[in-house]
Every structure is written in structure tokens, then in C-alpha cells.
Symmetry: C2
């Protein structure tokens, strides 16, 4: 058993410094969620496989971590079945529980199970790890946190507006400059409808996305290659060529979609959201972007995504409106809208841009050097008083070389060290050393508390 220990691929330990940074991210997001009236819930890591299977597509089913049943897990499986080695078929016999794959399905399950206690609209946030048996690679983990907020049971677009305000506020607090991109599933459906290519939404958004890179002519050629009729591509031209402000784009789109009720509804929704946000005033830019096509199987209205302006990195936040959260669990579909902050990417952005606060607000502020029992006995009541005043204080527990104690303070980045030797005991004072400047002051306990807390 004396093997060198390791942790499973795609999982991570978080040490004190990383935790301080991660807590800064989570606490900032939590505070903003709370300011907007969202309340925290938690669901268990373990869910029935019945709850999880079939909710994330065939690929998702494979990526679920499944818990081997306790006791005789072969019970009820025939010899024939065992020798058949059909791992896909047998897995739900060997395992009846799995690990949470995202926070959305557990949330839907929660809403259905607790529907009689819930007051609608229900505004909840949830910050918990999820697990996916994905192939680990740079920036992709098998265990990672999601930070979701959703409102269910309200179709009001005010919810979309507030979620955009939340995104804006969170990134202002982080000091990260962003652009919010917004789209609407109904506009995309309208376009597909109008040009008579209902099943080609993905091809259309991909084509628009390539405009800057390959130019209009090649995009048109690709669309035709994708099987879209020439006259349909023709009708798309105003949208492919459009530019200007969000309002100008919406104007163009509404002309093209004048015969699609669905499409016009999407335009109206988007206009409402953008107009209202303009009145309220956001610190960051919000841009209508028809290429945004996340969660097309899922979202039915607004779709959003956040890009960091000063770092090359994928989307750092996303979300959208869905119509049928709880239908999968047999409860008439509740409409909702939600966002999810990508904590790991935000961590990387804050690191690259050196935006983490200098002061670690959970780190020790003051270390008392240990010169031996006589001195320690003398300082302990002072230490109690200093801690009662809220100063995060340590006494070095062992009587060792001064050098070792000082290097402990340095390694932990403790800003102040208190020294109490014979002289200090005689004078009834403490020597406080500022580890940044090297300055030493002779102080009373009260003076020290004041100095350290500044």
C-alpha cells in the first residue's frame, strides 16, 4: 500500500492559493445572484440513473459516471447475459445510481419533486461540481464546478433583461471587459422557415459565421453545396450583408422575416430586451449575433454568450430561454431562462490579466514568533484579544530557529510578524514587523490591532 499516490485523470486538488482565488470568483457571483433575488439550492451528487439517462443524448449517456451497486451487483443477471458482455445493456443492471452530469437536469428533477412547496416564479442558483467521463485535455476536466442561475415559471422577458444585468455586474466586479452576444432561436427558425430550409439552421449560422473569413461569394457557394436552393440563398442576402447597430440589424431581419410569425416574434423579443437594457444602461456592450447557435435542441427564445475582450478564450458565460424544463419528468413544461458562468475559464482570464485582488482576504494577517514557552505563555492572552478583534492570527507552534519561522511567514505571504522577547515583555509592548517594508514598530496590543487591520 505504499504506492506513490495520485488522483484520477481529469481531476484536481485545489491548494490554499487556488482556493482563495476560486472563492473570490464564487463569492462574487453569489453576491450578485443574491442582489437579484436568486436563492441557493443544492442537490445530491448521486442521482438515480433513471433521472440522468436519456437526457444528454447517446454520447451523454456514455459520459455519465455510474456507481457500481453495493453488495451482490451480479444478482439477477443470467450467466448468458454475463458471457454476452454487452456492457451498454448491462450497465443499468450493475449500476442504478450515477453522478450529476450538469445542474439543469437535477434542477428540473428538483422542481418536479418539490412543486408543491415552490412559489413561482422560482429563482434559484446552484454552484456545485459536475462529473463527465470525457477524455481529459487542456482546460477540460472530469470534475468541475458549474454556477447556474435560472428563473422558472415566468415567461416575462424582464427575466432575460435581469440576467444580462447580472452578467454585466459580475464582470464589472471582476474588472473583465466583455461583450455579451445575444441571439434568438425564433429568429433562426424564422430564417429557416422563410427560405424553406427548416432543417438547415446549423448550416446557415455556420455560413454567416464564416463571412468575415471567406467572404460573401464563398459563403453563398457553401450554402448551395449544403443543399439550400438558389432562390433561398438569394432571400438570405440582406441578412448576410447586413451591418450597423443592433437596431439596424433588427430592422433588416424583420423585413426579411415579414412573413414568418415566429421570426417576427423573435425580433420583437430581442428588441424588447435590447431596448430595455439600453434604458437601464449596461457597462459592457451587447451585440446581436445571428451566428450564436448554442443549445439549439434546447433553447426556444433568447440565446446568450459572453466573450472576454482582452484574452483569446472561448465563451466564458452562456445561457438562454427554454420552454420545457420539466416535461421530461412528466410535469407540464415550465418555461424558464438561465445562465451559467464558466468558473474555470473566468479563473484563467483573471489570472492572465492579473485581476485577482492583491489582498487575500482569507489569509493569515499576523504571525507571532515562538521564542519558547515563557514568551508564548505571556503572549497567549494578547493573541486571544487580537483574534477577538477579528485579526487572522497564528502563533508559530514550535520553538524553532527564527529563520525557519520567518520563511514560514514568507511562504504563506503573511504581511505582519509580531515579536515578543525579553525586552518586549519588560516594556509590556510588542514589536511588529511589516514584512513588505521591513519596518519595525514597538506597539501596544491595541495599536497593533489598528495597524494590522488597516
Amino acid at each position: 500500500m505504499a504506492n506513490k499516490p495520485s488522483i484520477p485523470k481529469g481531476t484536481r486538488d485545489f491548494g490554499p492559493m487556488e482556493m482563495a482565488k476560486r472563492n473570490y470568483i464564487f463569492n462574487t457571483i453569489k453576491e450578485v445572484y443574491a442582489i437579484y433575488g436568486f436563492q441557493q439550492i443544492e442537490t445530491p451528487a448521486l442521482e438515480s440513473l433513471q433521472t440522468l439517462m436519456g437526457k444528454y443524448g447517446e454520447e451523454g449517456d456514455k459520459l455519465l459516471f455510474k456507481i457500481l451497486n453495493s453488495g451482490d451487483y451480479f444478482k439477477g443477471i443470467t450467466d448468458e447475459d454475463l458471457l454476452g458482455r454487452d456492457t451498454l445493456k448491462l450497465q443499468t443492471r450493475l449500476a442504478e445510481k450515477g453522478l450529476r452530469y450538469d445542474l439543469t437536469v437535477p434542477f428540473a428533477r428538483y422542481v418536479v419533486m418539490h412543486r408543491n412547496e415552490l412559489q413561482l416564479p422560482f429563482k434559484r442558483y446552484q454552484i456545485q461540481p459536475v462529473w463527465r467521463a470525457d477524455r481529459p485535455q487542456k482546460g477540460r476536466y472530469r470534475e468541475f464546478y458549474q454556477c447556474d442561475a435560472d428563473v422558472v415559471g415566468s415567461e416575462s422577458l424582464l427575466n432575460e433583461v435581469e440576467l444580462m444585468q447580472i452578467i454585466d455586474t459580475v464582470f464589472v466586479r471582476f474588472g473583465i471587459r466583455i461583450k455579451i452576444k445575444i441571439n434568438n432561436r425564433k429568429i433562426l427558425s424564422g430564417i429557416a422557415e422563410v427560405i424553406g430550409a427548416q432543417d438547415k439552421i446549423v448550416q446557415i449560422t455556420t455560413a454567416i459565421d464564416k463571412l468575415d473569413k471567406i467572404g460573401l461569394e464563398k459563403v453563398n457557394a457553401e450554402l448551395i453545396e449544403d443543399g439550400i436552393a438558389t432562390n433561398a440563398v438569394e432571400r438570405l442576402q440582406p441578412i448576410l450583408r447586413m451591418s450597423g447597430t443592433n437596431e439596424e440589424k433588427l430592422e433588416t431581419i424583420s423585413h426579411v422575416l415579414s412573413e414568418s410569425e415566429m421570426g417576427l416574434k423573435g425580433v420583437k423579443e430581442t428588441r424588447f430586451i435590447l431596448d430595455t437594457l439600453r434604458q437601464i444602461g449596461l457597462s459592457n456592450e451587447i451585440e446581436l449575433d445571428l451566428t450564436l447557435a448554442r443549445g439549439l435542441n434546447y433553447y426556444t427564445g433568447a440565446i446568450f454568450e459572453v466573450k472576454a475582450l482582452d484574452v483569446e478564450i472561448g465563451s466564458i458565460t452562456g445561457g438562454g430561454r427554454y420552454d420545457n424544463l420539466t416535461g421530461i419528468f412528466g410535469m407540464p413544461g415550465l418555461s424558464g431562462v438561465g445562465i451559467s458562468f464558466g468558473a474555470d475559464r473566468i479563473y484563467d482570464v483573471l489570472n492572465v490579466l492579473k485581476l485577482f485582488p492583491k489582498r487575500n482576504i482569507t489569509n493569515t494577517q499576523l504571525l507571532f514568533v515562538n521564542f519558547g514557552w515563557k514568551e508564548t505563555e505571556y503572549i497567549l492572552p494578547m493573541v486571544s484579544k487580537i483574534r477577538k478583534a477579528g485579526v487572522r492570527t497564528e502563533v508559530f507552534p514550535d520553538e524553532t530557529k527564527m529563520k525557519k519561522q520567518m520563511s514560514y511567514a514568507n511562504a504563506k505571504q503573511i504581511p505582519f510578524v509580531a515579536i515578543v522577547g525579553e525586552t518586549e515583555m519588560k516594556e509590556g509592548k510588542l514589536t511588529l514587523k511589516d514584512m513588505m517594508t521591513g519596518e519595525q514598530l514597538s506597539l501596544t496590543v491595541d495599536q497593533l490591532i489598528q495597524k494590522v487591520q488597516v
Copy 2:
């Protein structure tokens, strides 16, 4: 797939009210840990089974949740082995990962893996869920949080002293009256040594524990029945009969153990801890209790446990000194000492004694009633201003009956409701209703902020 959803036995959902209470518990503990210079770490929920197996005894191995391998989990298992159905033997072939069973083994694994980055003594705390495939019963869950703090790499008894101060401070903050019980494994070993019954520690502590209930005579009879020699039971008499203060008890014990080096060391350690704590001054009582025998396989020095004085419930916090945290992973044993708060039981105690703070510090403070778009458009900039001032504010998103909106406020226990209709718009004021008193005031935005934040 339209089955009524459920969650696995022994797991729980935590709704907004429960989360607010749980966060109160965790945040209080975190704050106190930080005041004493402990830093947070997190380890993954998934660990290699190699890390976990064999660390918790045979029973523990069974209670580990094991993750079915991805892909062809039968690979490498012969037909013969499959038909042998030896579930115990095959489980480590079918599963190579498991769920964290406690926070101690992952911490030991962490220390060994990160030993080159760590500055000793390392003071860490960790608050994360653990999983056990135990039979669920009242108060026992398959997924529950542990809240551990440990110092490793220091043998100084100052660490024990500070952990007792932490316990004292945490329960003072909770308002829970407690008694801390302290014992020392070396004293127990000394007793067993002196009476020549080294393997009878458990029987001796159990016997002492029964003194109050069945009396000295019956206890002596039981000890002899347990196979302890008559003259050994004779030698135990001063300890069985001892009473008085901690100091008086230690005096008695040191007489009985005068020939046991180990036993006297235990007395000396305990005396140091108790004397130092008396000098510093604790708010709660600490009592030497020889019947305390938790973690006998594990603890090597001080052992502690906390009892709530005003509620019948098991130990709500415990811990002790161990000598060999990392030996299991091939690193020369590091000594350490740790405590663990029982969050679920503390939750129950706070509930029973009605000690949870009245004010829910994460709940919405103010709800704006929705009378329609004209009014909503008018209030949105005010709402932004109020939120910027830090007031947790909601706007009811849908234009529905006043009654429904008010019952939403009641259900969420929102203390203030803001009403802005035509009159208020004309006057440029808001009507603020105090939901507790029913009082209504006509206020400016700034006045409202002041009023709500009080």
C-alpha cells in the same frame, strides 16, 4: 421517461431555507478557522480506489461507492471469473475509482503529493461532502458534509490548545452551550499497561462509562467477567472511584500510573492543555473524561469530543492527535492533530434550540410589485440604483394579480414591498410597505434604501 422522479436513498435536496441555514453554519466555522490561520483546500470527489481501499477496515472497503469503469469494463476479466461471480474480488477490476469516504485519507494523499510545495506546519481546513454506502437511517446519510481542520507537521501541544479555542469560539458564536470532553490515548494505554491488560482498553473505558448507571460493584464484576485479573481490577479502584476537578483527577491518575512512562506522558500532555486553556480562559467547560475512547486505532495523544448541554444528541464535534498521517502512502509519518464539526447534528441543535439568526442574510429584502409595462419601465432605473446600494431586490416579472404577488412576497419572507402606481409616478415617490407591521410610507429612492437597509 415520464416516471415520477426521486433521489437515491440517504441523499437530500437542500432548498433555499435549508441552504441559508447550512451556509450560516459553514460560514461561521470557516470564519473561525481563518481567524486561527487555517487555509481551505479542496480535493476531488473521485479518488483512485487504490488510495481509498484498505484505509477504513474491511467494513469500510464495502461501504465505498465505486465507479464502474467507462467503456468495456469487462475487458481483461475471463469468462471463468465472470461466472465465478466473486463480487468482492471483481469489484476492483470493474471499478478503479471511488467516491471520497472521509476527508482524512484524501488529506493524507494531498500532503504526500504536494509535500514539496507545503510549508510545515500545514494548517488546512476542508468542507466537502463525503459518501458512504451505509444503510440509511434517521440522521445517517449516504452523502453528507464533513468540516475538518488539521495541523500536520507540528508536535506542539499549542495546536491542541488552539483547536479547543476554535471549538469554544464556534459554539459561542452559535449560542450553543457545550461541554468539551478531553482524554488522552497515552493515559488509556498507561492504565492498560499498569494493570497488565494491554488489549482491554475498550472494556476498561466501557466499564468506567457504566459507573453512574450500575455502580462500582457491578462494574468490578463485569471487568472480571471480561477476563481482567482480580488484582488488576484492584489496582483500577482509585481511578474508578476518583472525582473532583480535572486537576484532582490528573493527580489520582498520575499516582496510579507512576510506573508507566507512557501513562505519565499522557498526564503531562493533558495537564499542559488544561492549564494553558485555564490561563487563556474558555467560555465553555472542558472536562477530563476517561471514558472517551473515539478513534482508538488512530489517535495517539489527546482525544476530544463535544456534547451539547441543552439537547439530547450524540457528539457534535470530535477529534484528536495522530502520529502517522502519511505513513500509509509511504511518507515518513507526519504527526498531526485535527477536529471535525458535525454539521448535520449542529443543524439539528440550532433548529431545536431556535438559535438560527432571525434575519436570513441572503434572502431578498425588497420586492417591487408589477402593475404593467408602463410602471415597470419607470421603476427599472430606480431598481438598478437600489441594487447598486447593495439591497437584494426583485421585480415581480409578470403582470399578475396583486394578491398573487403579495403571496409570493409572503412565501419568500421578503420583509419589504415597493408599490409604484400612477400616483407614485406623478409624485416621483415610492410607497414602501413593511410586511411585518403593515405600515406604508411614501419615500424617495434614497429614503427607501436607508429604510430597507436598517
